[in-house]
């Protein structure tokens, strides 16, 4: 039977790099990503699981990283917003967000991009309704969503996220 631990060394692959770190059991994944790994693109908005600012991809699926303990991510593969533009070149989705003015303050944008990337990976040609449902877990207080939906649509039509 595994012994209960209050801290443990975990190994997590984030954006292609492996991090081995001791973490307290109570540390949330979002804090591990921001404060330990120092990738601050992943935001904390509500801290209650509602806003989606903390969204990351874990083992290929979007999750809200404020509702997972970092220790649970031991062995996982994670992509944060910093991992999208690998090599410094923006993805078509990121370029579309820029071209369509799909952000204002940008607070929601990292989570929004990951939800949109996941949506397009699952469903390369979503309808507007499917796009709206796909980003339902990401709240934006600035844009009114119209330009975000436009940006995603333009990539879906243009092919390839």
């Amino acid at each position: 039977m595994p012994e209960p631990v209050s801290e443990q060394t975990i190994s997590v692959e984030i954006n292609g790099e492996t991090y081995e770190q001791e973490v307290e059991a109570r540390k949330l994944l979002v804090h591990f990503i921001r404060d330990v790994v120092d990738l601050t693109g992943t935001h904390v908005g509500c801290d209650t699981g509602n806003c989606g600012a903390c969204t990351v991809l874990m083992d290929g699926k979007t999750i809200k990283s404020c509702m997972l303990l970092a220790i649970q991510a031991d062995g996982a593969t994670i992509t944060t917003v910093e991992g999208l533009a690998a090599g410094g070149e923006l993805t078509p989705l990121q370029r579309a967000f820029s071209a369509s003015h799909a952000l204002q303050c940008g607070y929601c944008t990292p989570g929004m991009l990951l939800s949109a990337a996941y949506l397009l990976e699952q469903n390369p040609h979503p309808s507007e309704e499917e796009i709206r449902r796909g980003i339902q877990g990401n709240i934006c207080r600035c844009t009114g969503y119209v330009n975000i939906v436009e940006a995603i649509k333009s990539v879906a039509e243009g092919g390839g996220a």
């Binding site: 039977m1 595994p2 059991a25 699981g49 809200k64 509702m67 303990l69 649970q72």
Partner: protein, 273 residues
């Protein structure tokens, strides 16, 4: 937010998990974490030990029993329910309703077992367990038992799963010939929290209805499957729902009648009756 200090264990078998859960007064199972981690943040829950169920293979997967019933491991996620061909064939309502829970990220993590064990009165799955005739299998250190939904849901955030025990699987009978399910709900925004949720199952002109959000546990009523009988049965149930900023008790009582008939109506459409 900083959680209170907590210990963590990651068992790989059900046996190990119940031993861990029984090892401390205040040990809690951690499933999808979509409720538990949040209540730990605000310290409504501050367990000494969390027992992470996520790496227990035996709790995963959807299979069919010999009689065609669906057997859902406690750790089956909403996303897995939605994608499952077996669910679509045997009891499609489960996937249809799961698709309206919260949002993509919550559906990627939230589990059948967690949804039932937390028994939040607004949760989507408890009423469905009542109408479909599902049974819940609970393991303790010494024994295993299987209970029906009226034995399982006991109060707000309270179920038949006692400290040291865990829910291992849920068995949902396949739709019988001529039987069909419906669902109707008024929510806070699209796919939001339910103000009133209603599940219904209709067979041979008889409806079994379970109403969520109006009491600590799903309220079950039976009626003939026509509008007058359904509305009367719900009225006769003397519901005593809560009042809050979203709806008064009176409005919830009204919605319960309207939605009960909508859910039954949806089920009837599907039988072609």
């Amino acid at each position: 937010m900083l959680l209170r200090e907590v210990e963590y264990a990651r068992p790989e078998t059900i046996d190990e998990a119940v031993r861990l859960l029984s090892s401390r007064e205040d040990a809690r199972a951690l499933a999808g974490g979509q409720s538990l981690v949040n209540v730990m943040k605000i310290r409504v829950a501050a367990p000494e030990l969390v027992v992470d169920l996520n790496r227990i293979e035996e709790l995963r997967g959807i299979s069919a029993a010999a009689d065609g019933s669906l057997v859902l491991g406690a750790m089956v996620t909403y996303d897995e329910l939605i994608r499952s061909d077996a669910v679509r064939a045997a009891r499609p309502i489960l996937g249809e309703v799961a698709l309206t829970i919260a949002d993509v990220q919550v559906r990627n993590r939230g589990t059948v077992g967690g949804n039932l064990c937390v028994n939040d009165p607004t949760n989507h799955l408890p009423p469905l367990m009542a109408t479909t005739g599902a049974t819940m299998t609970i393991r303790s250190l010494e024994a295993e038992r299987t209970v029906s939904s009226d034995e399982f849901f006991l109060g707000v955030y309270l179920t038949a799963v006692t400290p040291g025990e865990m829910l291992t699987r849920v068995t949902v009978p396949a739709l019988a010939p001529g039987e069909s399910d419906g669902w109707a709900s008024v929510t806070l925004g699209k796919d939001g929290t339910g103000i009133v949720n209603v599940a219904a199952t209709v067979a041979a002109g008889q409806a079994r209805i379970a109403i969520g959000c109006v009491s600590a546990v799903p309220v079950v009523v039976e009626a003939e499957a026509d509008e007058v009988s359904v509305r009367k049965a719900v009225a006769d149930a003397d519901l005593d729902p809560p009042s809050d900023v979203h709806a008064s008790a009176d409005f919830r009582r009204h919605l319960a009648q309207v939605l009960a008939w909508r859910a039954v109506g949806q089920a009837l459409e599907r039988t072609g009756a």
